[in-house]
């Protein structure tokens, strides 16, 4: 209706914030536990 152009990205974040947060949390968990699992990959 009266939406501004920048509101599309805002609406996307409002709908999927939990997924974005989950990806960040999983990414940080993987990064901080890299000593555990890098060995299993043979690296």
């Amino acid at each position: 209706m009266n939406a501004e152009p920048w509101e599309d990205i805002v609406r996307f974040i409002c709908g999927w914030w939990w997924l974005i947060l989950l990806i960040i949390a999983l990414g940080l968990t993987a990064y901080f536990t890299r000593n555990l699992w890098l060995g299993w990959l043979g690296l």
């Binding site: 209706m1 009266n2 509101e7 409002c14 914030w17 901080f32």
Partner: protein
């Protein structure tokens, strides 16, 4: 006679519920940053910047919920800005309560907690005012979309 379908349904207040959810998420982020820094408070400024961004999105989510709840009423835009302000305000207040409790616990565990009362009060006031401003801006951006022109008869 009782007309249950005409009575307003008991709905949770979007400003409060979204604010509560948001503050739980922010507390989790704050604790994560705190422990990543080895139980030091160096990351508090980073968390606060994230918190300011979160105020906007929480305000948007709460205002959107409020708008959808009352879309088909006589006052479709009533309380939309208030929901946005409320969500940001609840988050801000609960975060300050969390920070005070965290510092009390750190103090009890034997850490040195330095706190200047005037600076601390000033920080709370600035944060609460920013929360109200950002939440209000988010609420107004949603309210604008639900404004209808009362003189527009094209939808009759």
């Amino acid at each position: 006679m009782n007309y249950p379908e005409l009575e307003p349904r008991k709905r949770p207040n979007p400003g409060f519920t979204v604010g509560l959810t948001g503050s739980l998420v922010m507390i989790a982020i704050s604790l994560a940053v705190f422990f990543m820094n080895g139980a030091e408070t160096n990351g508090d400024l980073l968390v606060w910047v994230l918190q300011l961004v979160a105020y906007f999105f929480l305000g948007r989510i709460a205002a959107q919920q409020q708008a959808e709840f009352q879309q088909h009423t006589y006052e479709p835009t009533r309380g939309i800005v208030g929901a946005g302000i409320g969500a940001a305000l609840v988050t801000s207040i609960l975060m300050w309560i969390f920070l005070i409790i965290r510092d009390v616990v750190r103090d009890a565990l034997g850490n040195i907690v330095l706190l200047e009362p005037i600076t601390f009060c000033g920080r709370i006031i600035v944060d609460v005012l920013l929360a109200m401003g950002i939440g209000g801006f988010a609420g107004r951006s949603v309210e604008k979309q639900y404004h209808t022109n009362p003189y527009d008869t094209s939808n009759f």
